[in-house]
Symmetry: C2
């Protein structure tokens, strides 16, 4: 993969945010004639071998809610073979058990592609029991099940990724009509993680464009409606600290992002649609130098955030205005209540929400739930309960053609 | 790339047509753990190294007519680095010179991506002069220029590809909104050409689906309107010879296809939109065993046609009903007038066209133009005139970062 060479970074304490970096070539060619990344060049090449090396250590989590088989199969086909697929579903189980259809789709696809995978349903009582034992009782709702919400599903995905002992975890939304774009997301994850110069690194994807049906034709809009607002206020926060206006953050709501497990284990996780913007907020809180950090090891180095703009447009199902509003509000709620948020930004958020009719004049935005980092959980106990009680938890091992079965992705014996 | 394993082939003399083969994984993983393609498996893996080896020898021709910069740049970004880009444009040159914009887009992109390319305008008087000298006076119209038409543009592309001395040539349409799908086409070309067991091989792409705007939402239709008709009659022709009904041909109109140069040099080329379906007709005529062949060397072996169904949908601009009708008619015209076409198929075509209102009752479909194979042209003379007279002919050489210029894609001295 060939990426535009960028220079600008913004710092927020130990957090380094690279400006948006475009993909120039999806495939930058064989290593036969490649020359190492040089200075003074306009582009950076990440050779295929380097990308592969990351992919072998990369878990790709697909949060899924009521997508069709065809769409899911397309997404799977775009994920490079060496990555481990983890499907975390919150699909309806009645009247038709859509999770069973999804789990079968994954199992059949993986048999064909001779690769392993994990699947689980977010509302499996056994999963709730496992998370409770592991130390996240807050994630359980009145029904005794893991709360509905994207962030809650991602927490499950990170916990499973940590159990696999792989070194990286990435997220790809299931509602995507273009397998080639999924492939590009994964390649961009790998390229960005390869370029990271810290064990605490994150890659966030900005779509090239998002086509919409408009008056009977396709219009390629450059930025999502929710993203514009989220990015604006995150940038304002950075600017208030630095005294210099900035537009560095272009990926506040990035559903597609990846991290080192070392970083993912240390990050708190917000519930619902607050999850992605809260990643910025949490990094600022934990490693921004404004508040005390529990991780002097991280503070001594840095946390690198790379933002990559894809070549592919993002074709997905339009979830409608309500969905966008939910995303926008939840993003601003977490920023508003953050201890690093400055009064000027708080006022601006309140003003914006009031003008939008989303907040009564004088009222405060609601708080969103925030869960502890996965590194704080008792993962060995989580796995014990998962294995014995979670009936939707499936480990698909890679079956070799001769019928030889390989080890499952998560092995009990490897848990220290 | 991992492909479905298929078994069925149809023969038409020396022509072997493989049934449609689906892509299972865009990226089948690193070679570290790969095992060679075995028997009794449901899938075939083409390792990345094998794909690269073909890409280094592959010329990708982009026939282009009035596409926007953004769309062209997206298509370029999807073509693997090691392939050589050739843009053959028939865009408007007044009031704005769209070719200049396109040629600049290619040049700028190639500078950024440090790769070579060729561009030319189909209606360049110097090109017409070159083709006349080379032995294709029929391709020139009343204005003394190369005729408008897709087939005519592809003839130019094949001639340029032959001049580069690379071993393969493929075609990718310029009107494509998804760079990732272009990437998949090229990978599928390479995978199919790698799997070929004859020096005379062709790969034809069938899109997974073609999304259309329908009542305000996207509907993913499986087969194009023109393709259905073309495939139907091509299959009927095969069935009439064999006595067994067949649906083997799924790629009669495939705009995306690739060939060995050895095969491309021997194939006659139809004008306009007849070009792609005529490839089947020409192979049946030259190598079908019904008529005498000028190529006993090919007859002694075989011509392999592989058909690959992509994972990506094909998002492009809807060119409207007239375009589809043009394609459909021209395809049937060449089949109708072929010497291998049997009376039953002729009758069926005439009946169909009459029922469609495209033909007067009792009338005969018009003939399409057919040009001689590129191998019959005087390519050295063609290059001489191109170099001296074709002002739109641009060779973009790969500039290395230190300012070192490499040889242009076509070198005069290498012409024997």
């Amino acid at each position: 993969m060939r990426l535009e060479h960028t220079h600008l970074t913004e710092r927020f304490g130990a957090v380094r945010i690279h400006e948006l970096q475009r993909v120039i070539e999806l495939d930058s060619g064989g290593s036969g004639e490649h020359h190492p990344t040089g200075h003074g060049r306009t582009s950076e090449i990440v050779p295929a071998d380097a990308i592969r090396a990351i992919e072998r250590e990369l878990v790709v989590v697909i949060p899924c809610k009521n997508e069709t088989r065809r769409v899911i199969e397309g997404v799977l086909s775009g994920i490079p073979h060496d990555c481990l697929i983890v499907l975390v579903s919150n699909s309806a189980r009645t009247p038709v058990d859509r999770y069973e259809i999804e789990a079968q789709t994954v199992a059949e696809y993986c048999r064909l592609a001779e690769r392993p995978a994990l699947t689980i349903h977010q509302r499996d009582p056994g999963l709730a029991a496992a998370l409770k034992v592991a130390g996240v009782p807050d994630v359980i709702d009145e029904d005794g099940l893991v709360r509905n919400g994207k962030g809650e599903g991602m927490l499950v995905g990170i916990a499973l990724a940590a159990l696999t002992k792989r070194r990286y975890v990435g997220f790809v939304d299931a509602d995507n009509y273009v397998p080639g774009s999924v492939n590009e997301y994964c390649k961009a994850f790998a390229a960005g993680l390869h370029l990271a110069d810290s064990p605490y690194a994150m890659v966030r994807i900005s779509w090239h464009s998002k086509p919409k049906l408009q008056e009977g034709r396709l219009f390629f809009s450059r930025r999502g409606r929710a993203s514009q607002v989220t990015n604006h206020f995150l940038n304002q926060l950075i600017a208030e600290y630095s005294g210099f206006g900035t537009e560095v953050i272009a990926t506040g709501n990035a559903g597609e992002h990846a991290m080192t497990i070392d970083l993912a284990r240390r990050m708190r996780i917000a519930g619902g649609f607050a999850v992605e913007p809260y990643q910025y907020v949490d990094l600022f809180e934990q490693f921004g130098g404004v508040m005390d950090s529990n991780h002097p090891d991280v503070m001594a180095g840095s946390v690198g955030i790379r933002q990559i703009e894809t070549r592919n447009p993002h074709f997905h199902d339009d979830k409608g205005e309500n969905h966008v509003n939910d995303m926008r509000l939840q993003a601003l709620n977490v920023l508003y209540h953050s201890e690093v948020c400055l009064p000027a930004v708080r006022d601006a958020i309140r003003e914006f929400l009031t003008a939008q009719g989303a907040l009564e004049p004088g009222a405060e935005p609601p708080r969103e739930r925030v869960y502890p980092p996965v590194g704080a959980l008792a993962l060995d106990q989580l796995l014990d309960v998962l294995a014995s009680e979670a009936r939707t938890f499936r480990q698909i091992d890679r079956r070799l053609p001769e019928g030889v079965r390989t080890d499952p992705p998560i092995q009990r014996t490897t848990i220290a």
